[in-house]
Symmetry: C2
């Protein structure tokens, strides 16, 4: 039994967080966050597939691939530290050194993250001052976690947090113990994760061997963060990290089985919650669009078809305009690059107001336009596409395309 709790990055045992106003680029708002682990943690991560990788992504990849334990994550917003050459890499190193000194750990135990404008160099003096401020404010309180989630926001309008608890057998045959997994993420524009998403930091006190932690992360990300899109642009900075303190006292998960399955399910739930929060808060968004594809011949085809629909500019614009132009959905399935028989598919749109059938037996259907408008007036719109070919399914999430998306990105730097 997995239980949702009100929590975030400080919910699991052993993790503290802090954030501050460092003045990196934004003024009068939190623009740095720090997560600190009281004990060395196993870490797994996935990173952007963009060929241009921001300096902090390069830094983190090296640490995660080395497989050593880590103790801290330091994040800044405002400037992405991408396209910044050797100086950008030096900034990561200096950030890690600075945090290591203040926290009494080693620089290679410090992960870094940045998000914001590509190009400018990050001001090191402000980073250092921010680290000093945050080190003095670290706390494992609920509030500290929530403020850290605020500290990693850019164009986000709300914080994104999720946490769950579940029971696992205790170590050395003792009674079951409660294990906690929680996290935070940010992301609103330049969201089309491929391998992982924007910035997402998860912590758990579950004892699990690094190999299985990595495997679980890969599996969870495929059906969650990799199934959302805001604008089709895969960022240079996408980073997801999961830190495990192993303080829950559970019998360490060393092989696949019931405990691993439960951990994977918990991880998938938290990742899905954070991913949907990001899609719903897409830049300028007024709707969450959920597309569920069923009856596909393969899982991969189901994923591709679902992502094609939520990624279509025309589907996104029609949902913003509350115009039930079902041909847009049909068209987006058609150009996904997956073979299917158009006569065999069925398309529905549903919401709390009910369901309308868009397409069946090779023909666009006549539907109740009033009900369609009611559905499109809700915040979350569900598109259901049955391919009539097999038993595989997948769900993707996106948001509508609005004037505000254009406005936000027409003048992002200022």
């Amino acid at each position: 039994m997995i239980q949702k709790i009100d929590g975030g990055v400080t919910s699991a045992k052993g993790f503290k967080a802090a954030s501050c106003e460092a003045g990196i680029k934004y003024q009068n708002r939190r623009d740095m966050a720090m997560v600190f682990a009281e004990v060395p943690c196993a870490v797994a991560g996935t990173f952007t597939s963009n060929r241009v990788k921001a300096a902090p992504v390069q830094w983190d990849m090296k640490i995660v691939q080395a497989g050593e334990s880590v103790r801290a994550v330091v994040v800044n917003t405002g400037i992405a530290n991408a396209g910044t050459g050797a100086e950008g890499l030096r900034l990561c190193e200096e950030t890690a050194k600075s945090a290591a000194e203040v926290l009494g750990i080693s620089p290679c135990e410090v992960l870094v993250g940045s998000t914001g404008v590509i190009g400018p160099q990050v001001p090191l003096d402000r980073i250092r001052a921010g680290i000093r401020t945050m080190a003095g404010a670290l706390s494992n309180s609920r509030e500290a976690g929530a403020l850290a989630a605020r500290g990693i926001m850019t164009t986000d309008t709300v914080t994104k947090e999720a946490a769950v608890t579940f029971e696992l057998p205790g170590a050395n045959g003792r009674n079951p113990v409660t294990v906690t997994l929680g996290g935070m993420s940010k992301g609103s524009g330049m969201i089309h994760p491929n391998m992982c998403t924007m910035l997402a930091y998860l912590t758990t006190d579950c004892a699990i061997v690094p190999d299985l932690l990595r495997e679980a992360v890969r599996a969870a990300v495929t059906d969650t963060f990799n199934m959302i899109t805001v604008d089709g642009d895969t960022s240079t900075n996408d980073t997801l990290l999961v830190l495990s303190s192993a303080l829950a006292g559970n019998a360490p998960i060393q092989e696949k089985g019931e405990s691993y399955d439960l951990f994977l399910e918990a991880l998938t739930q938290v990742c899905r919650s954070l991913a949907i929060q990001m899609a719903r808060d897409g830049e300028g968004a007024t709707h969450l669009i959920e597309t569920r594809v069923t009856g596909a011949d393969t899982k991969e085809h189901a994923r591709i078809l679902a992502k094609s629909v939520v990624g279509s500019s025309l589907v996104k614009a029609m949902i913003y305009g509350r115009d039930a132009n079902c041909g847009r959905v049909l068209c987006a399935l058609g150009y996904a690059g997956v073979d299917f028989d158009p006569a065999g598919i069925t398309i529905h749109m549903s919401g709390e107001a009910g369901t309308v059938c868009f397409y069946r037996d090779g023909c666009v259907q006549v539907f109740d336009e009033d009900k369609a408008l009611e559905i499109l007036s809700e915040r979350d719109v569900h598109l259901l596409c049955d391919m009539g070919m097999g038993a595989e399914e997948a769900t993707a999430w996106g948001c509508d395309l609005t004037y505000d998306y254009v406005k936000i990105n027409g003048d992002y730097r200022t």
Copy 2:
């Protein structure tokens, strides 16, 4: 020597055109067009790669693949005749029969085309009335060609036409003769051609064997229509047709050589002109974005990289907002799926006002913001990306993402 002329679909010998207000969906505007060939014509075509193919696409594909000669093309706008099942196919057949009867030709010599809303059935009585009206108005005049180009428009704001002449050796060893190639196209939204583009109809009086005509069409389309994007949505109706009347009197082109090369170059020029006109008139567009990728290791990589940049929502929004956010271009190259060394590439933006360097030696550059703003204030913006890897290059065209794109597509059906 290829000479541009003021012309279109009626410029080549043997072709007449007409258009009319048939009231298919729009009122008080031309919404049907017809092209009629005085002699049987060889035809080559490319069609949408969308798995959902509109009924007229299915009809035309059958005729083009049969390899028989054709005499006429009948096009309606307002309703796409897609997602219309068996009734939609019957509409194509009845349209062809009706045109064949009025024009005194066979139904299998009649190609059809539709563009507009997906879903509704096309009213056959209005199609028939339109055909009768147009048959009586067919003319080979310049004006008739221009009005046909107007008759195929939907959300287009301007007509798209292009024509050229060139000289080829005369038949049976006679003196060189003038050959003409011209055409018209439409397309503004749902533009992301793959295999071909929206609706494009070209005519020529060049005598060329069908196999070489087909080969030339494939080659010309790859670097022209397939290199434009407005919104990444590949339509269900994309159709390009080239009709050849062979009336120029040139020695028929039966093998590759100088004459074929000249024909291919002329065809490429006309296709490129029409393609750029479509990108520039993209729905809501205020800028044409041209991205030239040089120094790529393969031609295909150059094409993919160039298309990734013009297809990026963030690049499109930044150009609309006249915000020289060079990181967007770097990012779009990075996620194109092509391997390259970020330290080896150089990115410039240029216009009539001059050139600014965005990126070099692994770093975003400091550039003259005033000059960048001047360049971004021009209608056509040129992005130049040198990959520093090889000698291959490609150019892609797109347009900016504006409030009006969202507006047009938020309420397309009404």
